[in-house]
Symmetry: C2
Subunit: 323 residues, 2 copies
Amino acid sequence: MTRLGPGREFDRVRRIAAALGAGAMDLSDDAALLPAAGPTLVASTDVSVEGIHFRLEWLTLEEIGWRATAAALSDLAAEGAGADAVLVALTVPAAAGDDDVVAVMAGAGAAALDARARVSGGDLSGGPAWSIAVTALGWTSAPVTRAGARAGDALWVTGRLGAPRAALEAWRRGESPAEEARRAFARPVPRLAAGRWLARHGARAMIDLSDGLGADAAHLAAASGVALALELDLVPVAPAAVAESRQLCIAPEQFAAEGGEEYELLVALPEGFTAEDALAFERACGIELTRVGRAREGAGVHARLAGSPVALSGFDHFAAVRR
Amino acid sequence: MTRLGPGREFDRVRRIAAALGAGAMDLSDDAALLPAAGPTLVASTDVSVEGIHFRLEWLTLEEIGWRATAAALSDLAAEGAGADAVLVALTVPAAAGDDDVVAVMAGAGAAALDARARVSGGDLSGGPAWSIAVTALGWTSAPVTRAGARAGDALWVTGRLGAPRAALEAWRRGESPAEEARRAFARPVPRLAAGRWLARHGARAMIDLSDGLGADAAHLAAASGVALALELDLVPVAPAAVAESRQLCIAPEQFAAEGGEEYELLVALPEGFTAEDALAFERACGIELTRVGRAREGAGVHARLAGSPVALSGFDHFAAVRR
């Protein structure tokens, strides 16, 4: 129950709390109170802005809330942490009504519940455009940072890559993306259980692929003080990305590695982690785990495709959104 | 040291980390890792939007960062918690440069350091206007919520009220506010140490006055299930608010009670808390503690001024900012 004094802003908070139901904690206080459920708190904040991260023609309001929340939760997945709570600071354009606000918050609440977390607080404001800043909070006893990869470790990725970029490229051309691509962009699933499985099975370093495999491998390499050799031929490509890459005459594996806005994990595992271990992961988590490279002494990312070096460029998502 | 791969966004993060120095933790990971420093995590998120919460003509960029951070930290003060970390999701208009971003973050970092906290993470985005969403994280073993006031408790406020409203009213008239008023609006000091002192000395319920004494008393009354009787004659009024209230022909005490955007605390203390205890608070904390009313059976806020009932209206800060 949310007990607040009178006022229009507080009426909105009451409506949000009612719509979230079990997905929300008591929102009466300005601050959320969470029992410490592990020795280390993992906290990440992520902002999604209309016209920068998404366009209203592309996503429903529920999807805007889901996607922003999933993005914040994904950073917890990459630490091998469990999710506990999200705080949502929502900025609402003047033309939007209470139903619109409730729709965005319902999407945020659904993404939180899907990750076994709850909406535990937030803030509401007016503003020139939709903007949603989500802070995800969770706990772990052994965080996996970006910094632990060592020379000799193998690099693996979860799932298949490139579908969110396929959606953005289709929208950029003014077309409707394939449903698989649209869904990957609109309702990404943070890999929380997979991240915890990998943490339990020796993961030395992890990062999600929100900047794309090439750029995120560069972050992991810099943080760990190693070079990363990527064998692009091995990169698992989502079917929608294969079709879309043809339109641009880019090899599907390069298209996928230069993507981003996706929430699969790149993980460095010691050499002792075998193909059989990867099968155990796939059986447990229901998604693929594919070896895509190796860490070695040195610095930077060194990608090869069909035997030749490839310079991976970062994909400019913002340009895709702005057009 | 912040170790990230190449890219313009990451260059900005590197510049921010360098500018913050001791005020920042390692910002390399997407997620902040904080050792649990108490049984209960207190988390609050607060968003400040250009044109809604402030105008660029009023505040320096450092002050924008300071004020947004202080607002989030104030919610921790009202729980009697200590502050540990802040996460800052900053949205930057296209015309702003790296120096502008660093200035806002330096203000956020200074407010955090002033509260003995550090900037531990964040996010950067483009957007149509400046917007800064700050999540404050801290710890307590005995949170003080809004819900603990009981009939018979006395109500006290810290500091003197009305100065931020005085600044807004002056700006609304197109004039420059008195320096005391401007400073109260631009560089509010969250009452973290005072909140902890009050928590240690029996506080049953607390709330900060970001919505104004009248509106926040209504929240506290609703959460606690009591009526609150406010004796406005007792409300401590900041000198700048006295002068400003004359312009509007509003009694200074009513002007102050209908203010807001300020970060003093309203606290319910048991009857046994004496005037001598209040003096001990003032000696310890260097700010006033003034008794302004009482909780009793019932519901709602009942304010009296010079012997007559007064209906307190909420002050519409947003209208003041928008003009």
